[in-house]
Symmetry: C2
Subunit: 146 residues, 2 copies
Amino acid sequence: MTDEYFMQQALREAKLALEEGEVPIGAVVVVQNQIIGRGHNQVERLNDCTAHAEMIALTAAFNNLGSKYLVDATLYVSLEPCVMCAGALYWSKIGRIVYAAADDKNGYRSVTGQQSPFHPKTKVELGPYGEESLNLMRSFFVQRRK
Amino acid sequence: MTDEYFMQQALREAKLALEEGEVPIGAVVVVQNQIIGRGHNQVERLNDCTAHAEMIALTAAFNNLGSKYLVDATLYVSLEPCVMCAGALYWSKIGRIVYAAADDKNGYRSVTGQQSPFHPKTKVELGPYGEESLNLMRSFFVQRRK
């Protein structure tokens, strides 16, 4: 089980969002090579701007583990988390975050700058399939302009 | 209907949290003098570190209005929002935020510094009953040390 495999799973979630007319972002939470939470953006369906892929995947993971901390988990997400999701990840004390593509407009770094919003023990990495993720985003915006 | 009245309602929510053994933070969302969302911290009960008072009150307000934006709403919350909740408030485009007491440790300003994480049109104010809010927080930590 590799980062590639789990990021593909996150992209699969992103594609589900695209099919539903949502901004195509997907996420999975993994512990010991097992997916314990999945989510894709459901802002439009739920009429709730907090229903981001990461929030849904995190809540699923908390429920699955029966724990409010995810120190041994990795979050794979197709796009750099926003400030809200970064704050949720901080509280979760998650072990590792892998995102496929940077988001210079809405990513957490656009607000927090040099200061990391995460727990000091959380590792953050740019992962595989960045181009695939950005292609999904482009498809969404092309589709919406039509 | 005054800021004092609505902040008392937020404190009432915070007291419910305290009775349930949760960190005592409460919030209400108000549109045209009507409370359209309420919430208190439920992190322990739900085993979910995203179950903050503000997130619960916001989701209730979105459901109530059938809208994912809250441009005409005010959030009253007993403590300065954390980064996660600040991010959620950004997405909601909420008109006004009033918090009773600053939180130098976990409040959003500890991460975002001088840069506002909110929508440019969102007004943010320190409101009434700061001492009452901090007294609730102190009660919680005294109770927990016993």
